[in-house]
Symmetry: C2
Subunit: 100 residues, 2 copies
DNA sequence: CCGTTGTGTAAGTCATTACTTACCGTAAAT
DNA sequence: ATTTACGGTAAGTAATGACTTACACAACGG
């Protein structure tokens, strides 16, 4: 749920492909794996990592499980970047003023 | 310079430690390596990855090189997250309305 | 000019991890 | 009650990548 797990989760290309497939809407594991160049169990393992990072959530629909985007992971990552951004700007200003 | 290289660059813990060390201001390679549990060449390799991701920049100061935070990498990553965020919200709404 | 300081790069090793196949549990269906 | 569809997990393998030591090159000082 922290920004570090979100970063490591989104670093892998195929895991990012799984994540981006959910961008257009919820989908089952088979629907996600369909079109991807890896096997279905591989997709399951990636979904597990994404779920533990707070990036997706799953819900049982009959015998299937429907995965969808979950916000906490992205929120944690976004907040970290935003804070870093602000502090970097402040320190850049301070450094520039000290240059004169 | 794209968000994918920034993601993979920030995924590694020690590389993130290098990056966060520059948060408080510019520093040389030795200053960065000092206090980190890895060798100086390792820090150089991490800095190379961060530079190629548009996250840091370097400037020669005598025989040394001074590294500092560079904004384009973080900007690319932030923009990607922001766009993803918005589109995910829209699709979530559409999906919720279709549920009724 | 020679030694020192500061850094980047090459080659090789070791750990991490992404992927496959095989198997097991669950839920609807005929 | 068997069969069929869907998905998670285990074990083993292959590939990725992070780290070390050794070397090479540039800048400054004696």
């Amino acid at each position: 749920m922290t920004y570090t797990t979100a970063l490591t989760a989104l670093a892998d290309p195929t895991r990012r492909a799984v994540f981006e497939k959910l961008r257009s809407g919820p989908a089952s594991v088979q629907q996600i794996a369909n079109g991807l160049p890896v096997s279905r169990p591989a997709v399951s393992q990636h979904l597990k990592a994404l779920r533990e990072a707070g990036l997706v959530r799953d819900e049982p629909r009959g015998a299937a499980r429907i995965y969808s985007i979950h916000t906490p992971g992205l929120r944690a990552l976004r907040d970290w970047i935003e804070g870093f951004w602000d502090e970097a700007l402040v320190n850049f200003k301070a450094h520039a003023e000290k240059q004169e």
